[in-house]
């Protein structure tokens, strides 16, 4: 007697169920395929969505979730920051880096007197917020211009290019490009950067406080609000942390909704398994009658049929998980740049899809099993 036989002899119900499943191969394959679709739907949507969410948060992080943006509040008179205000903010936030900027617009006077609007950020040193891709900013930066990567690419600019910018209707001043910034997803970037000395007035309309973590950004924002916005709103303090939280809720909601839609396909799979099992039970009526006649109890019949349903479910889940895993890897590769960058969320979705698939098949098998077990052998064997 082979070892395999000794092993299968320990699990006779599984052996009988497996033979029954493999008897109607096409029917079993179709029922399992329905589960595959359900598992793929839930697993791929869930895990893909998780990867998408992760990538969005990463880019938000890159856009400065560790930064606190401060603008003049509605009660601030006058409606901009001067040196003193920046100093006061600096005192409040302590050691964190404070970058004060002023936004503006100008007309770029091009050949043939064509004019094009460009956005300007006036600041002390662009390097405090951005990295330089090409060229260098001189020690004493007073007249030259720094351009953003996108702007340089679009117009074919590089170090040593020249731009004439005109405020209002004047003829404008010509600036030499000294540096091109590296590309950034950065929040609040503009086309060109000029030294604060070039601004019409030494006023700032935004202060950015750089911190090292999202938590610090939050506590810095709180400190600023407490210090300046006690009675009147002198500062408009804005940090991305709260936005991240809101976004998280929204993305999670959408993901749960989509996964819920995916679960409908598992419901369909359950109906398909019930249908398959009912047909099998009707086809095997006499056979089940013989089992009952030779001493198999109702519980034994139920067990055999439930195991059959679960076998269909397990086949579906194994194949479905494999496919969902591949789909999720592709999503990971697209969104996160690494096929194996599974987040705990996406693994949870895959696990949930598997558990749900098997549970569905179990529930789907219950009615046919109950019906077969309650058929009286007398009726089944009457022919």
């Amino acid at each position: 007697m082979s070892r395999l036989y000794r092993l299968t002899g320990r699990f006779p119900v599984v052996v009988i169920a497996w033979r029954n499943v493999s008897r109607a191969k096409a029917r079993s394959a179709l029922a399992a395929a329905a589960i595959v679709i359900g598992v793929v739907a839930i697993g791929a949507i869930g895990a893909g969505g998780a990867a998408f969410k992760q990538s969005q948060f990463q880019s938000i992080q890159e856009q400065g979730a560790t930064d606190v943006f401060v603008a003049p509040g509605i009660d601030k008179e006058p409606g901009h920051f001067d040196r003193e205000d920046v100093k006061a903010i600096e005192e409040t936030v302590g050691s964190a880096g404070v970058v004060a900027t002023r936004g503006g617009e100008a007309e770029w006077v091009r050949r043939g007197d064509r004019r094009e609007s460009v956005s300007i950020t006036y600041m002390d040193d662009p390097r405090s917020l951005y990295t330089i891709n090409d060229g260098a900013i001189p020690e004493n930066w007073r007249r030259s211009i720094v351009v953003s990567n996108e702007f340089a690419q679009e117009h074919g600019l590089g170090p040593e290019s020249r731009l004439t910018l005109a405020l209002d209707e004047d003829t404008g001043a010509t600036y030499r490009v000294v540096a091109v910034l590296a590309a950034t997803q950065g929040f609040g970037s503009s086309d060109v950067y000029l030294p604060i000395e070039q601004a019409p007035a030494r006023e700032y309309d935004q202060v950015r406080v750089r911190t090292r973590s999202v938590d610090r950004a939050e506590s810095t924002a709180d400190a600023l609000r407490e210090r300046f916005n006690d009675r009147e709103d002198r500062l408009l303090v804005f940090e991305l942390t709260s936005l991240v939280r809101l976004l998280k809720t929204i993305v999670n909601g959408i993901n749960v909704f989509l996964t819920g839609l995916g679960s409908i396909s598992l419901l369909v799979a359950g109906v398909s398994i019930t249908n398959t099992m009912l047909m099998a039970v009707i086809k095997r009526r006499e056979e089940i009658g013989v089992l009952r006649a030779t001493g198999y109890g109702k519980a034994d019949i139920v067990r055999i049929l439930l195991v059959e349903a679960v076998i269909l479910g397990v086949i579906g889940v194994v194949v479905g998980l494999a496919i969902a895993f591949v789909v999720a890897s592709v999503a990971n590769a697209i969104f996160l740049g690494d096929p194996l960058a599974f987040t705990s969320d996406s693994l949870l979705y895959l696990l949930g899809a598997a558990a749900f698939g098997i549970l569905t098949s179990l529930i789907a098998g219950a009615y046919p099993a109950w019906r077969a077990a309650n058929e009286r052998p007398v009726d089944a064997l009457r022919g």
């Binding site: 007697m1 000794r6 013989v290 030779t294 001493g295 109702k298 034994d300 022919g383």
Partner: protein, 255 residues
């Protein structure tokens, strides 16, 4: 199976020694069909002893199958009493009847009812598969298949076997739990005469060797002749066999 002419008295086995294997008193079975009550068995008495060989003969619709279901504990009578040894089967729960059936009774059917996904050997093992005694079961099943002359067909699927071979497998299956009673419903109904004769001979041999009581239901007088006792079932009542068919009145001495 004698027609017990005495009115239903207590345990009524003065005629033979010992407790009958299975006995019935005033057994009535009714069915509800489309609002009508059909009386399939009308107050019949019967008894089957150990190693009995009985043929129940009757036309279709006479109540043969109903009686067989009652003997096989697959059904309970509407009224009257059936005793397995001394136990009133009406007092047994569903699962107890299941257990008694498994231990005491083997079934052989006209259409064999082998499970197509299992080999000959596995079909024989089937009633005992859930016992988780694979070694013992396999040894016994192999022995039984050898006994019915199929030692070279152990691993064949049912559809690779002839009708006679299938019925041999079914007979081996009915014996796997060492029952005291084998109930055979038209066991030769799907077989030609020669093959049928071989099956009947096999039943007779097994009865002699294993001491199993064999009850056959048939509408074929020829098959009935192979049994020690013949009982006619007509219209739900038992009748003494036609003297034209059986000169000895239905109760022949067993060797």
């Amino acid at each position: 199976m004698p027609v017990d002419d005495r009115p239903g008295d207590g345990d009524g086995n003065e005629a033979t020694t010992g407790t009958p294997l299975i006995s019935g008193t005033n057994v009535v079975k009714e069915y509800q069909t489309g609002g009508q009550t059909i009386r399939a068995l009308k107050r019949i008495d019967f008894r089957i002893d150990e190693a009995d060989s009985v043929a129940i003969v009757g036309p279709s619709g006479s109540g043969k199958s109903t009686l067989l279901n009652l003997l096989g504990l697959l059904d309970v009578p509407t009224s009257g009493e059936i005793r397995l040894r001394k136990q009133d089967v009406a007092t047994l729960s569903d699962s107890e009847r299941n257990r008694e059936r498994k231990q005491t009774i083997g079934f052989v059917f006209q259409s064999y009812y082998l499970i197509p996904t299992l080999t000959a050997l596995e079909n024989v093992e089937m009633p005992r598969m859930l016992d988780r005694t694979p070694k013992k079961t396999r040894d016994r099943a192999t022995e039984l298949l050898e006994r019915v002359g199929l030692s070279d067909r152990l691993d064949h699927a049912p559809d690779e076997l002839s009708g006679g071979q299938k019925q041999r497998v079914a007979i081996a299956r009915s014996l796997i739990n060492d029952p005291e009673l084998v109930l055979a419903d038209e066991p030769t109904g799907n077989l030609d005469r020669d093959t049928g004769d071989q099956i009947l001979d096999l039943f007779e041999e097994l009865r002699a060797e294993e001491g199993v009581a064999v009850v056959m239901v048939t509408h074929d007088e020829y098959v009935a002749e192979a049994a020690d006792r013949v009982v006619n079932l007509v219209d739900g009542t038992l009748r003494a066999p036609d003297t034209a068919t059986r000169a000895d009145g239905g109760h022949r001495d067993r060797e």
